[in-house]
Subunit: 323 residues, 2 copies
């Protein structure tokens, strides 16, 4: 069984040779740039892991796996424009480096290149693969829209938040796993379990992301801690903290939410309330709940126990990660 | 044989019921808006015309025809952002009305909805349809990039200009015709002729567009005449005029090209040079050349002469249009 480092190496090699055409250079240079940035490559790694589980050679899945990764990077390029983010993992974002127009158009082209890669699957399964991918891609857009809508909404419920992260993050992980399962000719039951594993691990992944944004280590995460807090982002942490029974804490939160600039005092104050209101504990438990749900789906898969180790390792990695 | 007004009505009805999902509203409202704007619907009309030519019921082609139109509208939404255009056919552009983020994200979603519609073709032909569409969509992005690159390039050759409009405009018309031919099970030869008809009529279409932008009537075109002139757009008119043998004309052009604001005196001066340098005449002849090339491809199609009338009418309409 190949470990995650080995999988990542295979993915990087395939990605670096994924662009056949290079002109016009102003269209393709930004694509090469974003694809060359350091990344965990979780989606294609999940894709390859499923193939390994079903004893299918990587050559049969690497192209669509790369397609999913390119689609994911397209969403990053456009999301960074919408979020006005100039840095991603310590490097310039595409629009910051190449300008707004390059960010928009290169992103558009990446979406098409993603489709090209995914369309390389066997013609026999292309209709169902396209159906899955089209639906997933649209859901990702819907999730991003909900995320933006939340910025201007004063109250967001826990359910709305969970729906948003399911669409924005989890469905693409689930899609990677299921699409790989389709190529491996997995049973309909297994496809459902793979999808559910992806949804649950994806939700856990996003919750951990939110936790790291407030409670991670700056050195490990690679960005300033407290960005979500300063932007009043409606994370599960904030949603739960806003429901605190302590009037004094509520008042502090409300006062800080009048500003959106970065302010270390605000970060420290709000983090304290996240802890004292048990919002942090609640959020951590929620993440573990989805992790355990994911393991249940994994249990149900009709492959041998030792074959499941690679996906189990993934799940462990996601909840234990520090960046 | 249904005329273009009847075809347009069928298309409008299908388009207006094309969006199944409506939430989140901030994602889907801009899509409904752009699709509701007045438009010639040339691409889906070509799509339906081919079906009529091969005696295939419209129901079999209407979904992908709508998909192509939605893709075209997606490119308009993103191009308008890149071109900083606030008006399109006298109405607010999407980003002007709903904001930059809505323009980007709704455009992204439209691209996916386009794929969904196109994927409704019979599974048997899906691989080749996807191959054609992916390639076309990427070429449209490449054409848009070339167009933007030309803005900052001092000299653009006629060949570069023709390559740009082929990619930016002609390939999507050609794709509409060929994809419809695929659904109609046209022969490989016919598919090639349909594609070539589309390429040539598409180039003629874009050249006519450029001519109207400088020499059309404001009332008919629905926008201020001379936009391309003021933006120093490297159209065939300007490329040819810049090659004039008259030093005095060359000097006037060079001087005016130092500015990009709208200036009626500039429009009048440059139009005079377009005429005196025979650039206008050359451009009109070039358009007619591509129109005639299109008719030659049409001749070669293996359907009866009277069946070809609808595409012939289209070609005539394109070169004679006033808006």
């Amino acid at each position: 069984m190949r470990d995650i480092v080995q999988l990542k190496q295979i993915i990087e090699e395939a990605l670096s040779s994924s662009l056949k055409k290079k002109t016009p250079i102003h269209l393709y240079q930004p694509i090469e740039y974003i694809l060359s940035l350091d990344s965990k490559r979780i989606r294609p790694a999940l894709f390859l892991s499923v193939a390994e589980m079903y004893n299918i050679p990587f050559e049969q899945v690497i192209e669509p796996a790369i397609g999913i990764e390119i689609f994911h990077n397209f969403t990053l390029v456009h999301d960074d424009i919408m979020d006005k983010a100039n840095l991603r993992r310590g490097r310039e974002t595409v629009h910051a480096k190449y300008g707004l127009n390059a960010g928009i158009l290169s992103g558009d082209a990446m979406q098409i290149v993603a489709y090209q890669k995914i369309c390389s699957v066997h013609p026999h399964i292309l209709p169902e693969v396209m159906h899955l991918f089209n639906q997933t891609a649209l859901e990702v857009c819907e999730g991003q829209q909900m995320d933006m809508d939340f910025e201007t909404e004063f109250t967001v419920s826990e359910m709305e938040y969970l729906q948003m992260i399911e669409l924005k993050t989890a469905v693409l992980l689930a899609c990677s796993l299921k699409m790989s399962g389709m190529i491996c000719m997995a049973s309909v039951e297994d496809l459902n379990h793979l999808y559910q594993f992806g949804i649950n691990i994806g939700i856990a992944f996003q919750i951990q992301d939110d936790l790291l944004d407030s409670f991670g280590s700056e050195a490990a995460v690679g960005k300033r801690i407290g960005g979500d807090i300063c932007n009043n982002k409606k994370t599960l942490l904030l949603i739960k903290a806003m429901n605190t029974q302590h009037k004094y804490e509520k008042e502090i939160l409300h006062n800080w939410m009048q500003t959106t600039e970065f302010n270390q005092e605000k970060v420290d104050d709000v983090k304290k309330i996240f802890i004292s209101s048990f919002a942090k504990e609640y959020t951590e438990n929620k993440m573990l709940f989805y992790y355990e749900q994911a393991l249940k789906s994994l249990e149900l898969l009709s492959v041998s126990h030792d074959k499941k180790a690679v996906l189990k390792n993934f799940a462990d990695l996601i909840v234990n990660r520090k960046n």
